[in-house]
Each structure stands twice: as structure tokens, then as C-alpha cells.
């Protein structure tokens, strides 16, 4: 099956800033890809390039089989895009605005009212049809933004921080909507909210300082790669290493009754039951066998915090000196 989006080796260079540096993005049918990254990592630039709002300095983008550069109209036809700030006209009503958005995407007049009604129902905007967009709350404006992106039933939906500025209940509703849409469309969403990615995405790509530093499926992420083993007896490392799927072992603590071992292996998640059976049959005195899950947060922090630490430390120092200064003044 060919990919919905095949963007390879994208670069975006602003005057003196290499904002996106060799990022490749792929999206398949039925996939919800979460684009993660700290502020200013280049997420929005990436998405804007995919939607044709920005032209990449280098690289190739193929949308649903057509090259964005050679056949922009055909490629853009299969994209629905919600920018970081919903592209609304406050003086129009929701109906007028959605009609306009649909006509821009070359929706036939005969299908217009049906598709509009669907988008309105999808985004929970029933009964607001004739309200002016400028009078709506931020959350509802965001919904209109999403409705605009899905009205022409595109194969690909690109959402740039869709839940920003929403209250927790609206956030849950939007996530539910994204999950529903993800069944029939391919979705890319960018965010810096980690639980959001864990809740809706089935693949994660982390972008840091313009580079793609991580790209894995959520299922792989959830696989256990490390297990903590607590035994009554002190067993030598070599025999523990013989347990199924174990690739390396380190002994973390050694006491008379509690011996902790950290087992690592790429396929450990499948062999947990076997490991426990063997420990019992060998009579090692199995006390604890706990899989350690790799949380997204750990990965994210370990990948993105690296060289920012120094700067953060400086900031903190400054804060402290400020506080000191203040307290001195107060005294």
C-alpha cells in the first residue's frame, strides 16, 4: 500500500536559522501520527510544508501519489489543514464559512449541504449554524477550524496543536473526534502534550531542533524491554543470562535476602511467563518480577533535554539571584 504522505529529506532554512533539518515523514491510511517536540522545534514548519503553505528549501513531498511541487492542486485536494491558529473569518457565520471552505476545495454544489451537515455534526456544532464565528468561544472556534479541515473528506488531516486553549472536557471530546476520524483518514497532529499523544496516536515522531530524533509505533513503545527481578538467593549472572530472551543482566543490589537484577532484551515482553516458570523450577526464590515500561515522557526528556540543560540551569541561577536580590531588598 502506498503511503498517503511521503515526505523525504525536508529542509527549511530561514535567513540564519536551519529550522527543519533533514526530516522525513511518512503517513499511512488509518494511522494517527503524533509529531512531538519542544516549543520551536520545527513542528509547525514541517506541517506547513506538508500542506503547501511553506515551500521547503530542499526535499520532496508526495501527497497521495502526486508531487506537491508539480501538481499542487491535486495534492492539496487530499489535505485538510488546521493551522496553529484556526484560519477563520470572524464576520461570517459558521454555515457561510464552511461553504466557503468547501468551495475552495472544489466540493460540488450538489454535495455541499450534505458534507457541511456532516462536518457540523462531527465537530458537535449543531445548532450553531447561523452564529457569527467572531462571537464563539475559543473552544468552539477550534471546532470550526477542525470542521473546515474535514469538510471535503480529505484522505489526510493535518492538525497543528488541535487542543491548545481548550478546557479538559473539550480536550477529551476533540481527542475522541480525532480517534473517530483516524479510522477512515490518515491524521498527523502536532503537540507538546505527552498524554495526548499516548491517548490518541499510534505512531510517534519526535522532532528536536529541526531534526527527527525518534520515530516508533506506540505498540513498540509499550513493549517491555527491561525487567526487574528480585530473588531470595544470590545467583550468578551467567545463569540468569541463560533465561529466555535475556540479552544482558546487571546486578543492581546484593544483600543476604534481596538480590536485584536488571534484565534487558528486545523480546522480553513475550517471555515474561517463561522467565517466572524457570525461576520457580530452579528454586531461586522468586520474590518479584516487574516489567519496567518505557514511558514516552522518559524518552522525550532524554532526547530533548540533552543540550538545553545548560541553558535551563543558567535560567534557574538567574531566578535564584533575582529572588535573593528581592529578599535583600525586602530586608
Amino acid at each position: 500500500m502506498s503511503a498517503l504522505i511521503q515526505a523525504s529529506h525536508l529542509h527549511k532554512i530561514y535567513r540564519d536559522n536551519h529550522a527543519v533539518n533533514d526530516v522525513s515523514i511518512e503517513l499511512h491510511q488509518g494511522e494517527i501520527l503524533g509529531l512531538l517536540g519542544p516549543n520551536g522545534a520545527g513542528k509547525s514548519s514541517c506541517l506547513q510544508m506538508l500542506c503547501g503553505v511553506l515551500a521547503p528549501s530542499e526535499g520532496e513531498i508526495i501527497i497521495n501519489g502526486s508531487d506537491l511541487l508539480d501538481y499542487p492542486n491535486k495534492a492539496k485536494q487530499s489535505i485538510g489543514y488546521l493551522p496553529d491558529k484556526p484560519p477563520l473569518y470572524p464576520e461570517l457565520t459558521i454555515d457561510e464559512y464552511l461553504n466557503y471552505a468547501a468551495r475552495l476545495r472544489r466540493v460540488k454544489s450538489s454535495e455541499l449541504s450534505n458534507l457541511r451537515q456532516r462536518a457540523i455534526e462531527c465537530c458537535g456544532l449543531e445548532g450553531y449554524n447561523t452564529r457569527l464565528i467572531g462571537n464563539l468561544s475559543k473552544g468552539y472556534q477550534q471546532r470550526v477550524g477542525i470542521a473546515q479541515a474535514i469538510i471535503h473528506q480529505p484522505e489526510i488531516i493535518v492538525l497543528d496543536e488541535p487542543t491548545v486553549g481548550l478546557d479538559p472536557i473539550q480536550m477529551i471530546e476533540i481527542r475522541k473526534l480525532i480517534l473517530e476520524l483516524g479510522e477512515q483518514h490518515g491524521i498527523i497532529l502536532s503537540t507538546h502534550i505527552l498524554p495526548e499523544v499516548q491517548a490518541v496516536c499510534n505512531r510517534v515522531q519526535i522532532i528536536h531542533r529541526g531534526k527527527s530524533v525518534f520515530n516508533k509505533k506506540m505498540i513498540e513503545l509499550k513493549k517491555t524491554r527491561q525487567v526487574r527481578l528480585k530473588l531470595q538467593q544470590n545467583i550468578d549472572i551467567a545463569s540468569i543470562n541463560n533465561l529466555p530472551s535475556v540479552e544482558s543482566v546487571t546486578q543492581t543490589a546484593k544483600q543476604a535476602t534481596d538480590n536485584y537484577y536488571l534484565l534487558s532484551g528486545n523480546n522480553l515482553h513475550a517471555s515474561l511467563a517463561d522467565i517466572s516458570t524457570q525461576c520457580v523450577t530452579n528454586n531461586w526464590g522468586l520474590l518479584e518480577l516487574s516489567p519496567l515500561e518505557n514511558t514516552l515522557e522518559q524518552i522525550f526528556i532524554s532526547l530533548t533535554a540533552g543540550d538545553d540543560k545548560h541553558a535551563d540551569g543558567n535560567c534557574n541561577n538567574e531566578d535564584h539571584s533575582d529572588e535573593k536580590h528581592n529578599s535583600e531588598q525586602a530586608a
Partner: protein, 250 residues
Amino acid sequence: MIFQIALRELRSLFLSPLAWIILGVIQGIMAWKFLGFIDYFFEIQADLIKIKDAPGVTDLVIAPLFDFSKILLLIICPLITMRLLSEERQSGSLKLLLSSPVSMTEIILGKYLGACSFFIIVILIIAIMPLSLLTSTDLDLGKIAAGMLGQLLTIAAFVSLGLYMSSLSDQPVNAAVGTFGLLILFFIINIAGNATTEGNNFFNYISITHHSIQMLRGIVNTADIAYFILFSLGFLLLSIRQLDSQRIQS
């Protein structure tokens, strides 16, 4: 697609009070001016009878009225065109257009037609008053038609310049001031042509006034029409290029 963008532009204009206020103010000023010209005509009517081939109502009322209305058009043009692209860029709604299957040319032409349609309404409203004289006297309809063609070509040029200025700036006010400055320059540059003997032709040739004044006298010159078409096309092409290059650099 061009039509859809133009329609949205026109609708948004009339949903804001700005368009209505402009129409109202123009009508008020023009009515006052119209009355002034009519008064003047009655004053000198007795003397006119003595002259052979004397100028008629069309020359003494309608032509000066159209000529005066150009100054008003010059003042309101930046107010209408400043928003065209810069406001959309500022509010982020330009991204809707850029991510839709429409070309830069279609976006620019749509915006251009939208703003031009508003000014066509303005011209028609201005023309209704003098045309009301038809009920009581004979008018030179050919001359009026030529004058209105001149008005139409003038606003076509004004709007293209305003659109280009709007494509340059994120701030509508900057676009308005820029448009205003350049329009005045093109409007009065023929004064420089009149003042000097050398380069006379050049300054006259690039002046909007020089090319539009003939049509008020009923003379429709191909060179004048070509000037306005080239002027508008030039700034439209510049706007398209500007919009495209912003997508590449930004």
C-alpha cells in the same frame, strides 16, 4: 474559484460597517459637490447662450464631478485594499487559501475582483446623481460613457497598486500609508512634467491624471487604455510574485 474568493471578499466588506460608511460619506460629499456644479451652471447659463458651440451640462457638471470623484476614490482606495492580504496574513486565515487547491494567481485575481466590484458599486452610485438630470435635459451619453470608462480604468489601477502594497506588509495600516503615498505620487507627477521642459513626456506618461483626463472630454485613446491595463497587470503580477516568494522565504 476566483469568483468564490471575490464573492467572499465582497461579502466580508459589506458585513463590516466600513463599506456602508464609505458609501454614505461619498454620497454625501458628491451630492454637495453636484449641487455646487449645478448652481454654477445656472449662474453662467445666461452667458453661455451667447457663445457659439458653448459647453453643455455634460461638460460643466458631469465631467468636473467625475474628475473630483477621483480624489475621493484615491482617499478611500487604501482603506479598502489595505486589508486584502495583510489582514489575512495577520489573522492566519491566509493559510486556508494557501493550503487549498487554488493557485497564487487565483488568490490574487479573486481578491482583486472582489475589491474592484466594490469600487464599481461606488462608481455606479456616483453616476446615478448626474444621470438623474436625464429627466429634465439632454445629456451627452457618449461622453458620460467615456468618463465612466475612465473611472473604471482608474480604480482598476488604484486597486492593483493597493493589492500589491497589501501583499508587502503584515500590517494593514502600513499597506494603507504606502498605497496612499504612491497613489498621490502617480496622481500629481504630471505637475513635474508641466514644470520642466525636459522629460516632460516621461512624467506625463507615467501619470494617472494625464491618462484619465482625456476620457472626461470624451476622447477614448488606445494609448490611455493600454496604460491602465499595463499598470494594473504589472502590479497584479508583482503581487502574485510577492505572495509566492513569501511562501518560499517567510
